[in-house]
Amino acid sequence: MPQQLTRLLIVFVALIGGLVAARHYLLPRTLGEKGHYRAAVLDAIAARPVRYAGREACAVCHADVAEIHGKARHQTVSCEVCHGPAAAHTEAPTEHKLPAPRERGYCPLCHGYDPSRPTGFPQIDPVAHNPLKPCISCHNPHQPEPPHVPEECRACHGQIARMKAVSPHVLLPCTRCHNTPVQHKITPRAALPDKPRTREFCGGCHAQGASGPKEVPRIHVHTHGGRYLCWQCHYPHQPELQE
């Protein structure tokens, strides 16, 4: 073997030997047990501190509140949404007392009117709705049903009401077209209002021979719009929708 090769071989063998030894020393013990990662880290991650106790934990001591709250409108709202992380409180109740938001600025975080919020979600105008009074003076946070049911649909359906208010249908009350059971104001999603299903319904005002002021646009109920029903083209809350 040429002299060059023997010399090089010595160098390479020494180098590789060193690397193999280093690898043996440095390789984490639990690597490869469950995959290409250190299995030991799973325990480390699982041992991180828990800050939110979960609503079931609150019910253990505060059963009375939990009972009322569990049947009321805020039943989907966990205790810790308003009272903050409670794990420390469950460990040492008297040392870690939880805050309870009482100021007026807190509730509008969820209930302040925002057009991006789903239609029908209970929203109010934080400035105009019973100004200066704290929300809790009328609404018990654990049983926030309003002191009296909303008189008008606009209390929850503000966007629709505002749109209708500047439309030709402004004089029509919501109930003219939507049969609304009384229960809808108490448990909205469980008792939904209905919607008109036939052309003849709109034809009650808009058919050629219908009674009413002559300013009301009249069309041939059975042929106007071909195969489509009225609301497939005309948005009933703003029939001639402008920008």
Partner: protein, 404 residues
């Protein structure tokens, strides 16, 4: 106001909240630039050794030393960028074989140990032995050590040096492709990023590397020769310029292809990317990369190409031609650096929601700052000076006094 608050103020449109901070900055622009020079310099050396382009012989040893100097510096921007450089050895002991980045340690080690160092060793061995016979003290000791004790100078041993060197260069060519190509693949394989995700990315990276390497050697060779007050071999320079021109044509064609393809397909990302190129990246892409870094050198080198000169259409004195070559080479370096910038930084300036743009605030000080990056770009040249001192690549160093 912290740097990130300042960035947030300048965000246009919508970016995901975690995208305000740019993650790969100036250091990650420097890294592909440096490894590109390594690959380019080595390809130039292989043109001499494997493809027997004799005119380029004066640059052979210089290319190897340049490649080595840049290769030694190459890991430094990466180490400086890491959140935990002290854990970088993990890439060697537990590489994730699905990750292109994990290849780095092995490709780098392979290229350094098996290709570059061996090639240099085999090429210099004879001279190392002869030098150590006539020198004194430190230099003698250093050169003796570098021979690794292989002092056999018989014709058979010398012939072995030649064949081994040739063999290593042959395997070195794909290794050089791999060393820089994998960097292109690191970007090209990220399906989350439409600016990076492309089949052409490794190839474009490689050709721009070759262009930058040849351009660098052109300048270094000229500098080295003039500083030693020796006559410049214009045949060598003309040949270098010719290869540079052809490589640049190829590189430009590939980038143009990518551009046309993108515009033609007009995928969803085209809107935000057009906004990116005409806005945030206008200076670095349209002006520096395309116009000054590619089109102008193409024009200059094309005008000076042998095809036009041999027909007597363009006659210029040697000094002027040299100057224009160097000018082109410098423009090309700026262009290739801008290319790296446009890929790395450009790919992070737009949101993956395709709805907004952020900004990159380059710092002056700090590990990711301009000072450190400039230092890292200067360091290989300083290293090269040291290497040239220890392993002179010049023809006069190969003339040994008669044996005592």
């Amino acid at each position: 106001m912290g740097p990130l608050e300042e960035v947030l103020r300048q965000v246009v449109g919508f970016v995901y909240p975690n995208e305000v901070e740019l993650h790969w900055g100036l250091l990650i622009v420097v890294y592909p630039y440096v490894t590109g020079l390594v690959a380019g310099a080595f390809i130039l050396a292989s043109l001499v050794r494997v493809f027997n382009v004799r005119e380029l012989h004066p640059t052979y040893r210089l290319s190897l030393l340049t490649a080595l100097a840049y290769l030694i510096v190459a890991p430094l921007p990466l180490l400086t960028h890491l959140g935990h450089p002290e854990r970088s050895f993990e890439i060697f002991i537990t590489p994730n074989l699905n990750s292109a980045m994990a290849m780095f340690g092995f490709v780098y080690a392979w290229y350094l140990m098996v290709v570059l160092l061996l090639e240099i060793w085999f090429d210099y061995r004879k001279d190392l032995v002869l030098w150590s016979q006539h020198e004194r003290r430190l230099r003698r000791w250093l050169h003796r050590a570098l021979t690794l004790g292989a002092t056999d100078l018989s014709p058979r041993a010398l012939h072995f040096d030649q064949s081994a060197g040739r063999f290593i260069t042959i395997i070195g060519i794909p290794s050089a492709f791999l060393l820089h190509g994998y960097v292109g693949f690191i970007f090209g394989s990220v399906k989350a990023n439409p600016w990076w995700s492309s089949v052409l990315m490794p190839i474009v990276f490689l050709f721009s590397a070759i262009v930058s390497g040849i351009a660098l050697l052109l300048v270094l060779y000229l500098l080295g020769t003039l500083l030693r007050s020796k006559p410049v071999d214009m045949i060598c320079m003309d040949k270098l310029a010719m290869f540079l021109f052809y490589a640049l044509v190829l590189d430009f064609s590939l980038e143009l292809l990518d551009f046309i393809h993108r515009l033609y397909e007009a995928e969803e990302s085209i809107h935000i990317l057009s906004e990116l190129v005409s806005g945030r990246l206008f200076l670095s892409l349209v002006v520096l990369q395309a116009l000054l870094g590619t089109l102008l050198p193409l024009l200059l080198l094309g005008l000076l190409s042998p095809a036009l000169r041999s027909r007597g259409l363009v006659t210029l004195p040697d000094e002027l031609r040299r100057l224009l070559y160097v000018g082109s080479a410098v423009l090309i370096q700026i262009g290739i650096f801008s290319t790296r910038w446009n890929v790395v930084i450009g790919g992070q300036l737009f949101s993956k929601s395709l709805r907004g743009l952020t900004v990159y605030k380059m710092q002056l000080l700090g590990p990711e700052g301009l000072f450190v990056a400039s230092l890292l770009l200067l360091l290989p040249l300083l290293l090269l000076l040291v290497l040239i001192a220890v392993l002179p690549p010049w023809p006069e160093a190969e003339e040994h006094p008669a044996a005592a």
